[in-house]
């Protein structure tokens, strides 16, 4: 079962099937492999054209590794990453060689968490934003200048800033520069890994607004990775929840937040502090720590922390099922539990 069918008429732009990324754990002088970190462990989902799919989960659950596989910054251990190109040709990003990937780089771009680290401090905005254009064959400098000026305007920066260096800009402005750079090649898919996590709330609101506006204007498709559930809820059409390398739930945003079906999703939501002192503080429903993906628990990976766990959960791993159309969940009792939240 994959998190794909039954969602209206939109076409999938990206189809991830049984994706795995295991990192070897080595020991001894001969670097013998003694085990594996199962960073991404059998993940399948679709991203539809023009939508924002949010990806959430606690630290270490595999969000960044999933993103890096899509961009082929790391090579997947197994599985397929099917991408539909502009001409409707479907390619498997997981199988392509570096050379074959090159023409695809323009269509898939990335926005990073750290607006400071993702820009080259010794290059001007012109070079930082224009570099992907150059790499993609726009060798004419005047042409590049025009394009960079347009891109800066697009993200709300003045084109005159083109000849300044990144250090002259604030965190929010640098994130805009990072977005301009990502958009320079007219990508169709943008993978954003915690793009607003390092920003103050007021700056965060500006960048979120920019992303929403750009998506509308350019018809972009976003895979939006974040750990702040309020931010993800605000920006996403659908949300996928990961736990210890696995996809445990995926549903349209409204459904997921009002009627989660996985105990992990509901516990995660209950942990979000609501900015209203009149709402009483809820009980802590999720205790203990995330298990190591090098040594995941038996059965359902969530069973040691799940308050609904039974003996069956300790031995039998639940499969990803689709109890209602478009709502995917990996829990034996997804149909029986009532996890309705206040959201």
């Amino acid at each position: 079962m994959t998190a794909s069918h039954s969602v209206d008429t939109k076409q999938p732009l990206l189809q991830i099937r049984d994706l795995r990324k295991f990192f070897p754990i080595t020991a001894g002088v001969f670097n013998k492999t003694v085990g594996h970190v199962r960073a991404v462990d059998d993940v399948s989902f679709d991203v539809f054209e023009g939508e924002t799919l949010g990806l959430v989960g606690e630290s270490g659950c595999g969000k960044t590794t999933t993103s890096r596989c899509i961009l082929r910054a790391v090579d997947p251990t197994s599985g397929q990453i099917l991408f539909r190109r502009k001409n409707d040709e479907i390619v498997d990003l997981a199988k392509l060689t570096r050379e074959e990937l090159q023409p695809l780089r323009a269509e898939i771009q990335m926005i990073f968490q750290d607006p400071f680290g993702s820009l080259n401090p010794r290059m001007t905005l012109f070079d930082n934003v224009g570099e992907p254009l150059l790499v993609n064959g726009m060798t004419n400098r005047a042409e590049r200048t025009d394009r960079v000026a347009d891109l800066l305007k697009l993200v709300g920066l003045r084109p005159e800033f083109m000849h300044r260096f990144p250090h002259a800009f604030s965190g929010g402005q640098r994130q805009r520069i990072g977005i301009a750079r990502a958009l320079s090649t007219n990508p169709r898919l943008v993978v954003a890994d915690e793009p607003v996590s390092a920003l103050d709330v007021s700056v965060q609101a500006q960048v979120l607004n920019l992303l929403l506006e750009l998506q509308k204007r350019l018809g972009l498709t976003f895979l939006f990775v974040a750990h702040d559930l309020s931010v993800v809820r605000h920006i996403s059409d659908r949300v996928a929840v990961m736990y210890v390398g696995q996809l445990v739930e995926l549903a349209p945003t409204k459904t997921l937040f009002s009627r989660p079906r996985h105990p992990y999703t509901s516990a995660l939501m209950r942990a979000v502090p609501v900015p209203d002192p009149r709402i009483p503080v809820g009980e802590v429903t999720l205790k203990g720590e995330v298990p190591s993906p090098a040594n995941p628990p038996t059965g359902c990976y969530f069973h040691p922390r799940c308050r609904f766990a039974t003996d069956r959960c300790k031995v039998e791993a639940p499969a990803l099922r689709e109890p209602t159309p478009g709502h995917f969940v990996r829990c034996h009792f997804a149909d029986e539990l009532d996890l309705t939240t206040a959201f």
Binding site: D200, A205, Q206, N209, R233, M269, V272, P273, P277
Partner: protein
């Protein structure tokens, strides 16, 4: 009315740099009542950490406290009456300040790595602190053996929810996960039974689930020991859950302060109002433009004239906003605001 445990009065801290001087804290005043949780919010660079470090006389060079008082109510020892000391008058490295740091006022610093030395085990560092401040555990002044101090640390680790506490005391800080290190820091801060705990963004780097556990823990400790807490965070949700009263800072000044309910349900300062509007809510409308604050935070070398918020303010009253600095004035039960909309333009500093 209860006398405050800590009272910061008109604090000014500047950093003299080659490019000029930065007024990092520019006239901050607030009180902390015994057993109360005061939440401090404000954007990056508004002076939250510098204010807290001033309280403990830990401001980094070239920072200087230029003006103001930090009054702390010391308990009377051996039947002596309590006294009020101005911490700004104490020598940074003198015996009085050293006795206060840790034992009376403990800080959970913003940089988690700064709290522990990497070359000693976490347990050893806490044991050392407990032995140094043994009076907190043995008011009669008798010392504590290493084994006795270690016993206390194991109990503290258990209290803060560290599993396998008798093994974890022998770990180095870099061997602990983010959540465990955070808990160990809380244990360290509590190890000398402070009456005031200053937590500088203690949950910013950890997951919401771990955060929920740490917040529950702090609330429980506060109830159990009556510790007063100053809690610094960017997260308005955390403030709403933790604080009794709130101080909203902007560019080194207090924009507004008051009881938590008033700050969230009857905010008076245009900055507080704008800040509250700009957060995506877990219950609000989705995929719509969020209200934003115009412009960007000014560079510390370019402080605006008059009200520091006036260039970005969407409710600006008039020319006085750019000309004069509004002072912090009481407007309601325990709520004060620095904004001309709420008092006469003649009330300047």
């Amino acid at each position: 009315m209860t006398a405050p445990l800590l009272s910061v009065r008109d604090l000014h801290v500047t950093f003299g740099l080659d490019e000029g001087s930065v007024r990092a804290v520019d006239g901050v005043s607030f009180d902390v009542l015994p057993g109360q949780v005061v939440g401090i919010v404000g954007e990056s660079g508004c002076g939250k950490s510098v204010t807290m470090r001033s309280i403990l006389q830990l401001v980094d060079e070239p920072g200087r406290i230029k003006q103001g008082e930090i009054l702390y109510r010391m308990p009377g020892v051996d039947g002596q009456p309590e006294t009020v000391v101005d911490l700004t008058k104490l020598a940074k490295r003198g015996p009085q300040m050293r006795a206060i740091r840790g034992a009376e006022i403990a800080l959970i610093p913003q940089e988690p790595m700064a709290a522990f030395s990497p070359v000693h085990t976490v347990g050893d560092q806490i044991i050392e602190a407990i032995q140094l401040h043994h009076r907190q555990w043995r008011p009669d002044g008798s010392g504590l053996s290493r084994a006795e101090a270690r016993e206390i640390v194991v109990d503290l680790f258990r209290d803060v929810g560290i599993s396998m506490p008798d093994q974890r005391v022998d770990a180095y800080s870099w061997q602990l996960s983010g959540g465990l290190r955070q808990r160990a820091m809380i244990a360290m801060a509590l190890s000398c039974k402070p009456r005031l705990l200053i937590a500088d963004e203690p949950t910013t780097a950890i997951d919401v689930t771990t955060q929920a556990q740490v917040l529950a823990l702090l609330r429980e400790l506060q109830r159990k020991y009556g510790t007063a807490i100053i809690f610094i965070t960017h997260d308005l949700g955390v403030i709403a859950q933790m604080a009794n009263s709130v101080v909203v800072m902007y560019l080194g000044r207090v924009a507004e302060q008051g009881p938590v309910d008033a700050i969230f349900h009857a905010p008076k300062h245009p900055y507080t109002r704008a800040l509250l509007r700009s957060i995506p809510s877990i219950v609000g409308q989705t995929q719509v433009a969020l209200p934003t604050i115009a412009g960007t935070l000014p560079h510390p070398f370019n402080r605006p004239s008059g009200c520091p918020y006036h260039p970005r303010c969407d409710e600006r009253k008039g020319p006085e906003c750019a000309a004069r600095v509004p002072s912090l004035k009481p407007v309601d039960q325990g709520q004060s605001v620095s904004c001309f909309l709420h008092h006469d333009s003649s009330d300047t500093q």
